[in-house]
C-alpha cells in the first residue's frame, strides 16, 4: 500500500520521532509505514488521518487501484 505519510510529515516539519510520539507508536513503526513495509491497522490509520485532518483515502492508496 502506498501512502503520503512522509510528505505530510515533512510539510509539518516533524521528524519521525515527533510523529511517533504524537501517534504513541515507535519511530521504527513510522519508518516502516513510510517505506510501505508495514500497513497500519484501521485504528492507527484513523489516528493518522485525524492528526493530519485528512481522510484515510487521502493518505493511503491501494497500489492495485
Amino acid at each position: 500500500m502506498k501512502n503520503r505519510l512522509k510528505v505530510l510529515r515533512a510539510e509539518q516539519r516533524w521528524t519521525q520521532a515527533d510523529l511517533a510520539a504524537k501517534l504513541e507508536v515507535s519511530r521504527q513503526t513510522i519508518n516502516a509505514i513510510e517505506k510501505g513495509k508495514f500497513d497500519p491497522s484501521l485504528p492507527l490509520a484513523f489516528k493518522i488521518a485525524k492528526l493530519f485532518n485528512s481522510s484515510i483515502e487521502d493518505i493511503f492508496q491501494d497500489e492495485e487501484a
Binding site: A21, V25, S26, Q28, T29, K37, L51, N53
Partner: protein
C-alpha cells in the same frame, strides 16, 4: 493543523518500563533455577524438602515472568508486537523441535539429556528472540 498535546515519550517510557520488568523477571527466574540446581547438586541439603521449595519458588517467579512478558507485548505498538510475537513463535517451534530431538536421542541411547543440552535450549531461545531484534533493526 490541530495542535495535539501528548507526552512525547509516553510510548517509549511504557515500552522501556515493561521490557525492564520482563527482562528482570527472566533474570531472577534464571538465577533462582541455577542457584537451586547448584545447591541441590553441591550442598548437603535435604533434597526432597529443598527441591519442593525451589520448585515452588521457580514456578511462582516463572509465572510472574509470563505476566511481565504479556504486559510487555501489550505495551508494544502493533508492528513491534507482530514482530515479537512471530519471533516468540519461532522460538517456541525451535524449542519443540530441539526438545523432541533430545527425547528421541535419549530413547535411542544416542545422547543422554544433560546440563549441556539444557544450555542448548537456552541458546536456541536466545537465537529465536535475536531474530526479532534483527527485524526491528531494519527499520532504524
Amino acid at each position: 493543523m490541530k495542535n495535539t498535546t501528548v507526552n512525547p515519550n509516553a510510548y517509549a517510557a511504557r515500552e522501556k518500563k515493561t521490557s525492564w520488568y520482563a527482562a528482570l523477571s527472566v533474570l531472577v527466574w534464571a538465577i533462582t533455577v541455577t542457584l537451586s540446581s547448584a545447591a541441590l547438586t553441591h550442598l548437603s541439603v535435604p533434597k526432597l524438602l529443598f527441591g519442593i521449595f525451589a520448585l515452588l519458588i521457580s514456578v511462582v517467579i516463572g509465572l510472574a515472568a509470563i505476566v511481565a512478558y504479556i504486559r510487555w507485548l501489550k505495551a508494544l505498538d502493533e508492528m513491534m508486537r507482530k514482530i515479537w510475537v512471530e519471533s516468540m513463535a519461532l522460538t517456541l517451534g525451535a524449542l519443540w523441535i530441539a526438545f523432541g530431538a533430545l527425547i528421541i536421542l535419549e530413547a535411542a541411547d544416542i545422547n543422554y539429556i544433560g546440563t549441556m543440552d539444557i544450555g542448548l535450549l537456552t541458546i536456541l531461545a536466545g537465537l529465536g528472540m535475536a531474530t526479532g531484534a534483527i527485524r526491528i533493526a531494519k527499520y532504524r
